[in-house]
Every structure is written in structure tokens, then in C-alpha cells.
């Protein structure tokens, strides 16, 4: 009826089979333990939401409106006590080793209650993924163990990623754009290390973080091939905090300016730089694109999960209001138009969730989580006693050969279509989830009228918070183009994306 060759040919047509069946392919390969972990994480998120987020969210948001420079150390400490800063760090690096895709569910759950507090906790994992994206196992092991130590001592050790600059926002998210960008954060090679000069802006959780993964450039004229990721510790000479930005929402998570003035970072700490890139199959520029895509493919799925959370928070707030409020003589929820709106909102939540889940499957098959979701590795890491992880795995991870092997697996052996797929799904999850989140916030305010405008009814805070999701981690405009580049344009040589249009 149909030959093997024909099957291959038909499935290679657009949309390609592998692009549209990430979940189908992943489910059979997925370790069963992930299901139980997901249940546990969702339950834990709901408990945390009940005990911490709901009671504090509005009060803290009001405090931040009165005192925009206030830093929420008490909440950082509370999240540290719950173990949230190590929960998704693999056991061999000192963490609790929960499967990383479960973080997205946590983000949806907590984001549905307070995006600000959820950001404060989860943006730490953007930095964790930045370290992992470098595949420098020694530094992953070093920095993650500082985080674990912070949990043990009760002195939180958060991480931040610093990429946006005053003159370059969207540009620094893609190597195709960065060569035209006004980047100014320079890493100058000096004896024994690098000197960083310049500044970074809008750095989420900057002021409350201990380590900052600073993405800068050794050559400002040719940044795409000269990207370097340098970890800088708070308190290092030459590093200081600038202002806390005064944002419309997500106020609980400070957006910081980081200032570098001849800040020295030793060679040993370099996460990855141009020399590492030169040693890989794709060269420095290609590898930088891969590293950015590894980070952004996972972080954008996470932002999509926040979008689902925003959509859900708006839905739940509107539903609660509709259940209690009479309009024109009967409960709002019993008006047919209101039921239709609520159904539409429920649908938006579900679509946003499906998109980020599919993106996670893509990352599990082809991206960031690939090696740790292979069943033997997963179960080895899961059941490895902590003492053995510390004693045996630690020294192995510090070997150069370990980094070499992981870079081989994740950088050289990753196919172009694989990182296109993960990057495409990441962008799709991000812009669709966050657009749907914003849409539901509009609908909630429309349904609630005057009550929705009041801070004490929560909906207006969600409306303000949700808007940020359409902007950061690449504006939704950039993400649409990135998805087009990765999922559509790749097969058409005549298509140019990010080309100057003047």
C-alpha cells in the first residue's frame, strides 16, 4: 500500500512528523518516575501557594508600590527554607534532583497566584540553565553546590542571568542580531582572567542574587563569535548594583541594574568563551547560537508556563467573582455570556499549557534535558545516595574530560533540526502562552467591572504582572520571528530572517 521510502518521504514534508509529535515520541521514552514527581511538585506548589503566596502576595505588592526599592529578603528566605532553589538541581550537583520539566508545572501553579513571587523563585533557574547551557561540568558543580550550601546554612544563594544591556535588548537574544547591536559590556583578556566593564539592565532578582551569570563579549565589534559567560559573585571588587527598576508589575521580583568597573573574573571561572566555541564542530558563532538556544528553549517554555499561570489566575479570579456576585438579579455565573467567556478563558489556559508541555517534551528529546531524561541516567541519578553523589560524582565532574564529553553530546552531536525544533517550540510556547495569559486578564477585568479595578480583588495585579511576560525573554514579536526562522524558514533558502530592511 505504501512503501517505507514513501513513508519517509511523506513524513519529511512540512509540517515534519518529528516537529508535530514531540509528546507522542517522548511519552514512551519517559521514565515513569516523572509522573509521580509531577504530582508531588504540583501538590507542593499548591501547599506553598496556600501557606505563603496567597497570604503575602497582595500585601507585598502594595508594599512595593509604596517602597519600590524594597527588597523581599523575607520571601527569599522562606522559599529557601522550602528548598525551592535546589529542588530542580540534579543530585550529583548537590540538589534534590527533581525532573526539570516539573518546574514548568510549578511555575504555572505559583504563577496563577502571584507572578511576582513565582518569578522571584523561578528566575533563579534561568541562571541554572545558563550554567548548564555552557556544559562546563566543573563550574556547574561548583556553583550549584554553593546554592545547596545556601539551603543548608539558611543563607540563600540565588543566581541571576545578566544579558540585557541599556543599548541592546532584543538584539542580544540572537546571534544573527547581536553583531548589529549596541553592546557595550566588554570582557577584556588580562593575565589570569578577564576584566568586565559595562552594565546590564532589567536583571531579574539581581539585587537578591549571590552569583550573576554575565553574558559579555571579548570583541564588541564582532560579538556573535566572541560571547563569553562569566560568573560574578556579589561583593567582587569592581561589581556593584545600580538602581532597582520601577516596574508596572511583577514588583516583588526586583529588576536590577548591574554595573561592572574593571571587575576581574579568573580564567578558571569562565563558563564558556570563544576558545571553547572554536573547539566545537560549529565554531564559536554556531556554538554561541546553540548555547543561547539551549538556555532560551527551556526558559521560554517556562515563561509560557507563567503565561498559562496568568491565564489560569485570571480565570480563577473571574470564576470566583462570578460565583459570588449578582448582576441584573442573578448570579453572574448563571448568565450565558459569562459562561461562554469563562469557557473561553478555560480553553486559553489549556492551550497555553499544551504549548509549554510540548516544548518541554521537545527539550527532553532534543535539548537541555536530553541526557538526564534517558531512563538509565534518570534512575541512576534518582536512586544514587547523596553521600555517593558527593564523594564519587563530584571529583569526576571536575575532570576536563567530563566537560569535553558533555559538550560533545550536547553541542557537536546535536543536529541542526534538533535545536531548531527546541528553539521553535520554546518561542511558540512563550508567545502563545503569554498572549493567552494577557487575553484572560483582559477578559477577567471585563467581567468584573469596577471590582476588577481594585487592588484588593487581585485581578488588576494579574493584569499588570502578566504584561511583562509578553516582553521579557525576547519580546513576543522577536519570538514569532524566531519561531518562523526555526520551524518554517529553515527549508527555504530564499527566506532571510533578521535581515536589515531599510
Amino acid at each position: 500500500m505504501i512503501t517505507r521510502k514513501e513513508i519517509h518521504s511523506y513524513l519529511s514534508r512540512e509540517p515534519q512528523f518529528d516537529d508535530i509529535t514531540c509528546s507522542l515520541k517522548a511519552i514512551s521514552r519517559q521514565p515513569k518516575g516523572i509522573m509521580n514527581e509531577t504530582k508531588k511538585v504540583i501538590a507542593m506548589a499548591r501547599k506553598f501557594s496556600d501557606e505563603v503566596l496567597r497570604p503575602y502576595a497582595l500585601e507585598m505588592d502594595r508594599t512595593m508600590q509604596m517602597t519600590p526599592d524594597y527588597l523581599p529578603w523575607d520571601l527569599v528566605k522562606k522559599a529557601n527554607e522550602w528548598g525551592f532553589f535546589t529542588l530542580w538541581i540534579p543530585k550529583i550537583f548537590g540538589g534534590h534532583g527533581y525532573s526539570i520539566p516539573t518546574l514548568s508545572y510549578f511555575m504555572e501553579e505559583t504563577g496563577s497566584v502571584c507572578l511576582g513571587l513565582s518569578n522571584l523563585i523561578c528566575v533563579h533557574y534561568l541562571a541554572v540553565s545558563t550554567i548548564f547551557g555552557s556544559w562546563n561540568l566543573k563550574m556547574i558543580n561548583t556553583i550549584c553546590r554553593y546554592v545547596a550550601e545556601g539551603e543548608r546554612t539558611g543563607i540563600p544563594c540565588l543566581l541571576s542571568t545578566a544579558i540585557t544591556e541599556p543599548g541592546a535588548g532584543t538584539d542580544v537574544e540572537d546571534v544573527e542580531l547581536v553583531d548589529h547591536a549596541n553592546v557595550a559590556c566588554h570582557a577584556k583578556k588580562v593575565d589570569g582572567g578577564y576584566l568586565i566593564n559595562g552594565s546590564k539592565v532589567f536583571i531579574s532578582s539581581g539585587h537578591v542574587s549571590t552569583w550573576h551569570m554575565v553574558i559579555c563579549y571579548t570583541d564588541l565589534e564582532n560579538p556573535s563569535s566572541n560571547m563569553i559567560i562569566l560568573p560574578v559573585k556579589t561583593g567582587t571588587k569592581g561589581f556593584s548594583f545600580g538602581r532597582v527598576e520601577h516596574k508596572m508589575g511583577v514588583k516583588i521580583c526586583p529588576a536590577s541594574e548591574l554595573v561592572f568597573d574593571n571587575c576581574f573574573v579568573p580564567d578558571d571561572w569562565v563558563l564558556c568563551g570563544p576558545e571553547d566555541g572554536a573547539r566545537t564542530k560549529r565554531g564559536a558563532k554556531g556554538t554561541n547560537a546553540q548555547v543561547l538556544d539551549y538556555v532560551l528553549s527551556s526558559s521560554r517554555a517556562g515563561v509560557g508556563a507563567w503565561g498559562a499561570g496568568a491565564a489560569r489566575g485570571a480565570f480563577e479570579t473571574a470564576l470566583d467573582f462570578a460565583m459570588k456576585t449578582e448582576v441584573n438579579g442573578k448570579l453572574l455565573v448563571n448568565h450565558e455570556w459569562a459562561q461562554s467567556m469563562l469557557a473561553e478563558m478555560y480553553k486559553n489556559v489549556s492551550i497555553a499549557r499544551l504549548a509549554y508541555v510540548e516544548s518541554n517534551y521537545a527539550n527532553g528529546l532534543y535539548g537541555m534535558f536530553k541526557s538526564i531524561q534517558v531512563k538509565p541516567v534518570y534512575y541512576y541519578l534518582k536512586f544514587l545516595p547523596k553521600s555517593l553523589a558527593d564523594k564519587i560524582a563530584g571529583p569526576i565532574l571536575n575532570l576536563y574530560q567530563s566537560t569535553w564529553l558533555f559538550r560533545k553530546i550536547h553541542l557537536d552531536w546535536q543536529k541542526d533540526e534538533e535545536f531548531h525544533r527546541t528553539a521553535g517550540w520554546g518561542s511558540l510556547a512563550k508567545f502563545s502562552g503569554t498572549d493567552l495569559g494577557m487575553k484572560n486578564c483582559h477578559m477577567a477585568l471585563d467581567m468584573m467591572g469596577q471590582a476588577g479595578l481594585r487592588h484588593d480583588h487581585r485581578a488588576e495585579k494579574m493584569f499588570r504582572d502578566s504584561k511583562l511576560l509578553q516582553i521579557y525573554e525576547g519580546t513576543n514579536q522577536l519570538n514569532r520571528l524566531n519561531m518562523f526562522k526555526c520551524m518554517v524558514a529553515r527549508n527555504y533558502p530564499q527566506v532571510k530572517v533578521f535581515e536589515k530592511e531599510q
Partner: protein, 370 residues
Amino acid sequence: MDSTKKELGLLAKAASEFAKKQLAPDREANDQYPFGPFFGSVLQKAFEVDFFHVLLPESMNGMNQGMSALSVVLESICQEDSSLGGIIFTTTAAQELILAAGSYSQLETISKAETISDFLIALPVFNNPSEVKHMVQYKKSGDDYVLSGNLDYVVLGGLAGHALIPANSPGSTKYAYFLVDLHQNGITKSEPVLSLGLHACPAVDIAMNNVKGVLIGEEHKGSECFQRMSDRMHAASASMSLGIMKGSFREALDYARKREQGGQTIINWSEVKMLLSNMAIKIANAEMILESACKSIDLKESRWEARSRAAALHIQDMASELTTDGIQVLGGVGYMKDFGQEKRFRDAKQVQSLLGITPVKKISFIENMI
């Protein structure tokens, strides 16, 4: 017609200059929480140049102008800071309610006030009292009426000398409006309510315990008065939205001409051009719709009421969409308080809720037609 256009042009110019000079410089400061003391001196100046008197009859020291005139004033003001627009809207809506009820003498007394505080009238202007359960009840006590109960989100309740309070009698679902002197004993006001937008047009929750109120119009006829006021004031709310849209577009265009990304000013990226174009198209359409609606109201053309409401419902939808794009053009800085876009985004959504719950307003629109 030409002279009317010229007059409107002069009024728009005066309002625009006022807004640029008096409102724009302190927009961020006036938006801060905790609120106040707001722009007290600016309010006094707006009062002196008659921005609160546009629709009032000449016999009440008013300008006796039509909706087109109020529209150009509100639009110009809201390009810079819609909070003052909200204050003008609320007071004018209260004046219109009193006029719709035929209680001229009450309004005449207030219109002679010499201070802005005594002139302003507070009103729960985000609420159509027919839609919600009444928490304030009145009873007759001799020739007077006495009110008790709670009323949420009374706009200008903390600033104005008087408030128009909707209340019903025990057992009745129909309500009436009462003019209440807010200085009298028995009134408890909350702190200004923290809300999404229009921060410098504050609202308070009011608790009343046996306070005197003067009946406006007739008992049980509040709904009809609200409808008549609302028919006209929908167009005024649309003009606020149009002003916000214009302010957002101007700032987006200005930024797009300066900001560089990818080696060129962002206005040269066609996706940004598309965003800006969609904003400009919405504004051009909103201008046409609003002008036509205001003309219909002023000339009392057939179905002017529907046109006024349709203009508001459509333009306010557009304003919500446009202001979100207004932030996107600026990217990260659009989300920051240093620029005006985030405030416009909040204000546009707040303005959309004027005069009642949006979907209910839409349902009412068709119910009035069928």
C-alpha cells in the same frame, strides 16, 4: 459649521497646552502610591479655565457647549494624563445626572461654588447601579431622606464636597439618586482605594449611617436618569480612550524613531512599522467614529444614543489593544514607570469600565435595539 469647528479647534488647543504644561511634567509623581496630595493647584486652574463647566448651562456659569466640545477637552487632557480626564468626566457625569433628573436648583447651588472642592461631585461612576445589589438604603424622615449603608468605589469621594448616591427603599429593587453633603456626621470614608489606573482620580469606599440626602428627581427613577446620562457620557468616555490612544501612539512613534536594534532605528523594521500602522489606523477610525457620534448627540440625530454607546464600546476595545502595542514598541522600558506607556495601558483598561461592566453594556446595547 466652520465657526463651530474653529471654536472646537481653539478649545482643543487650549486644553492641549494646559495638559502639556500642567500635567505632563508631574505625570509620574502624580501616579505614585500612596496617593496625594495630587495636583491640587492644577485642579484649581482647570476649574478656573472652565474645564468642569463645558456642558453646564450658561445660567449655571457654564459654557453651554455640546458633547463635541467636552470630547475635545477630554481627548486633549487624556493624551497627557487621563486622571484629570477622570475627574472632569466624573463631575460632568454627576452634573448630567442631576440635569437628567430635572433637579436644576440643586445643580445651580453647586455650580456657584467658589472652591473646586465644593464644586466637584463624587459619583460611583464605574458602576451602573441597575446591575448590582444595593447596599445603601433610604427612608423618609419627615420631609427629609436619610441614607444608611455602604457604597464602594465612590470616585472623588475623598475630594468632593458632595456625592450622588444611588439608594433604594427597603423592599424595592428600584433606586433613586440622592445628593449627599460629604462633610456631615455619619459618613466614614476609607483611604483612597488602590486601583489599576487613574491614580490621581481617586475613589473611596463610603459607609453612611443615617445621613441626610436630597432626592434628585423622583423616587424609583434613578435608573432612567442613569440611562439618560449614560447615553451621552459614553461618548465622553470614548474621547478619554482616544486621548490615551493618541498619547500612546505619539510616545511609541517617538521612541521608534530614536531606538536602534539590529543596526538600524527600529522604525525601519517592518514589524515595528506594522505595529505603528495598526495603532495609527485605530486612531484614525476612532477619530471618525467619535466625531460622528458627538455630532449625532449634539444634533439629536436619530439613534444618537446608540451611536454614542457604540462609539465607546468600540473605541475602548481599540484603546485596550493599542496601549498593549504601545508598550511592545518600547520593549522593556515600556514596562517601566519612567515612560508613560505603562500608565496609559492601565488607564485605558480602567476607562473601559466606566459606566458599568463591559459585557453587560454590550448586551444592553442589543437589548435596546430589539
